[in-house]
Amino acid sequence: MTILQDRATAEMEEAVQNGFDLSWLQQLKQQIPGAADELSNDPTLAENTPDLLDESPNQTQRTRGALPRHGIPQYSAYTFRDQKEVWGYNLTKLYQEAVSRQWSSATDIPWETMRPLPDDIEAAQCQLATFFAQVEFVAADVPGRFISQMSPDYHEVRMFLLTQVMDESRHMEVFRKRALSNGGGLMRMIDSVSDVTGGSTDNAREFTEMSSRLHIVGEGNVLTLFRLGELMAYNEAEKAIYRRAAQDEARHVAFGVLHARYMNECTPERREEIHAYLDEAEDRQATGNGGENPAARSANLTADSLAILLGGGADKADEGKKILAAIRQRQVKEYFQRLKSCGFDDRIENGRVNPALLEAYKAAA
């Protein structure tokens, strides 16, 4: 596709004589050569764009590649203006996958397969759904805050995070729908809150701190559970909920891993700092504090619910607890695989990793 050269010069002169300015058009004409190269090899938003800057001077919300104007107030005050603070690998592919795999909780879940369940099973399923309805939108509010603080020159990151805002919104509603659709209702709100004074996903002010906690650890833990949704589901509707939520969650986890891998390779001077974030996040994984691991031993409401669902009833909760122990081991195994994938697995070998997690890993081996 090429644009046709026209008799632009003569026409422009005539238009100017008629009172039009057209200096903007002159500017655009001067930048045409090579302008279309950006997309020539990739029908999607290309990542290897020639105008991607290490540091973004953009404080006026302009689209990367647009021509700046002089004299515009620098009103955006973006906090994150350095590529090495926010970038990751495969951003465009993750965004495109997210857009392609959107689903509807109203029509894509076979709600008609729901049947009355024993009260203990229904209560456990509803308690677990209450937990997810409570925590899922964290992953919408928190990234949303970062999006508005991030230079649009890194729009690939912003756009992926916007898909996550959408996904988490859907997760919040699908679990609320589950709680209200089969004779149960919403149950008790979770009480595993901690660190409201700092050091949590909610309070993180640094992008990699937020991502390591939210994507790699918090959502990673939930991903393991969703992947095992077949074990917790009692009908096709519940299976579909867990399966589809897992598909979304895997994408979010992948974003976190690929951001951490980028940071590991491009900002080695920050490795120690990132390890420190992981120290705190691992503590939450082991204890369940902050609601970041519903399967954790001390996460009473959700761990009880999981045990009941996995065992097949309140009277079989002890059997369920054994399965839950195996799930915890699997959570750790998958977390260690993520560490390996992003290049922070040295903490497993050098003794820095949380001892409780290491113990679980060894028990599973």
């Binding site: 029908p43 009103y75 729009h155 149950m187 709100m189 992948a254 054994k322 998958e334 994938s341």
Partner: protein, 397 residues
């Protein structure tokens, strides 16, 4: 496109689960857990029958797990509608009761059983129903999901015809402006979404869809500018963008800028693009964006109308008083030649046709100001054309 890069080793993931059309899920995960359990699940020791104390009667589930009683309304069953299980259909019993004000500063799901003594997580600044609620938010949320589209798959980009240089660059300038409109929306909503109380999830979820729509609008406009031989144009003059980002008083004040002042123009620009499109590709792009934008506007108007109706005439007056600076910016942008000259080329079909095209552009600008006034009046702000900023009054005349 699948994502295998989440730290999972696909080679040890086991056989595909036939029930999973995505190929992402594999049944071996569940099997492994079950095997682990089976291996660890040793038989219990045989009890000694001699001298064994009388076993206590088994506990009931609620004795064993007291939290099972912790529900405000057991037995609720939301009806499945012909449109599926929608957000509206789960507004049942206590779960459908919307508080006028929420002082709950945690993320407690509305209607769930409160746990006492939970530290507040945030100090949400939007805590009143009359500052963000709109009765149509739930419906619009479901509509947004049902009408989702994909800029890469639903647009036949290869069908874009070649165009004369000046004409193509004019389209690029229009798309550059609209892409920045989307960025400004994303930033503005992103600054407020996390401040909204969890008692009002319906508007929060709707605004999540608006953010997602805006991402798609940014994507499609940027792609359109870059894919047909042109390129991105000049950045927006940014006056209204700044106004939206810098408004701090509250969400209703932001909404006046975001919806009535800005989205009115954005909608007209999409309509203009769809009307003057010289090919089916552009017509489809602008038509799809217009559909989304109309949804955003429906929420904004519904929200502001409810806000002013509940808060009263004084609040409407306070909103009218902030219009002075907004109108000054609107007038400033209406004088900026870049966008309007580009649109004159589009409407006139060429640079030579600009004079004729400018007639259509002037009509659009006047319509923008008129709609702005009508929308203000609709939501309950007493605004008359006679009280417009002088530069806007000129545009209408």
């Amino acid at each position: 496109m699948t994502t295998q890069n989440d730290g999972q080793d696909p080679t040890d993931a086991g056989p595909l689960d036939e029930s999973d059309p995505t190929g992402r899920y594999r049944s071996s995960a569940a099997e492994t857990v079950q095997q682990n359990v089976a291996e660890n699940d040793t038989a219990p020791d045989e009890p000694d029958p001699v001298g064994e104390p009388t076993p206590e009667p088994p506990q009931s589930p609620t004795e064993q797990f007291p939290w099972m009683k912790d529900t405000r309304e057991w037995g609720v069953r939301a009806p499945l509608t012909p449109h599926g299980l929608t957000i509206e259909s789960i507004a049942v019993g206590v779960y459908g009761e919307i508080p006028d004000e929420s002082r709950e500063m945690t993320r407690m799901p509305r209607g769930s059983f409160a746990t006492p003594g939970i530290p507040r997580l945030d100090n949400y600044s939007v805590n009143r129903k009359d500052e963000l609620w709109s009765d149509n938010a739930a419906t619009l949320y479901e509509e947004a999901i049902q009408r989702r589209w994909n800029a890469m798959q639903d647009i036949d980009w290869d069908a874009l015809p070649d165009a004369p240089e000046g004409f193509e660059l004019a389209w690029c300038q229009l798309c550059t402006e609209l892409g920045q409109h989307a960025t400004a929306e994303i930033d503005t909503i992103g600054l407020w979404l996390h401040r909204m109380n969890y008692a009002y999830i319906e508007p929060k979820m709707f605004l999540a869809t608006q953010e997602f729509d805006s991402a798609r609008h940014f994507e499609v406009m940027r792609h359109r500018a870059l894919c047909n031989g042109g390129g991105l144009g000049l950045e927006s003059p940014g006056m209204m963008n700044r106004r939206m980002v810098e408004t701090r008083a509250g969400w209703p004040e932001v909404a006046v800028s975001l919806y009535i002042a800005r989205a009115t123009l954005t909608m007209l620009l999409y309509r203009f693009g769809a009307h003057f499109a010289s090919n089916a590709v552009d017509r489809r792009i602008f038509g799809l964006c217009l559909q989304d934008k109309a949804r955003h506007m429906a929420y904004g108007m519904g929200m502001l109308k409810l806000t002013i109706a509940v808060k009263g005439a004084d609040f409407g007056t306070s909103l009218r008083r902030i219009l002075g600076s907004i109108e000054k910016d609107m007038a400033g942008e209406l004088k900026d030649r870049v966008l309007w000259e580009a649109m004159a080329i589009i409407a006139g079909g060429s640079i030579r046709g600009m004079q004729e095209g400018m007639v259509a552009v002037d009509r659009l600008r006047a319509e923008y100001v008129r709609q702005y006034v009508r929308r203000l009046q609709y939501v309950g702000i007493d605004k008359q054309e006679t009280a417009l900023h002088p530069d806007l009054a000129v545009v209408v005349q």
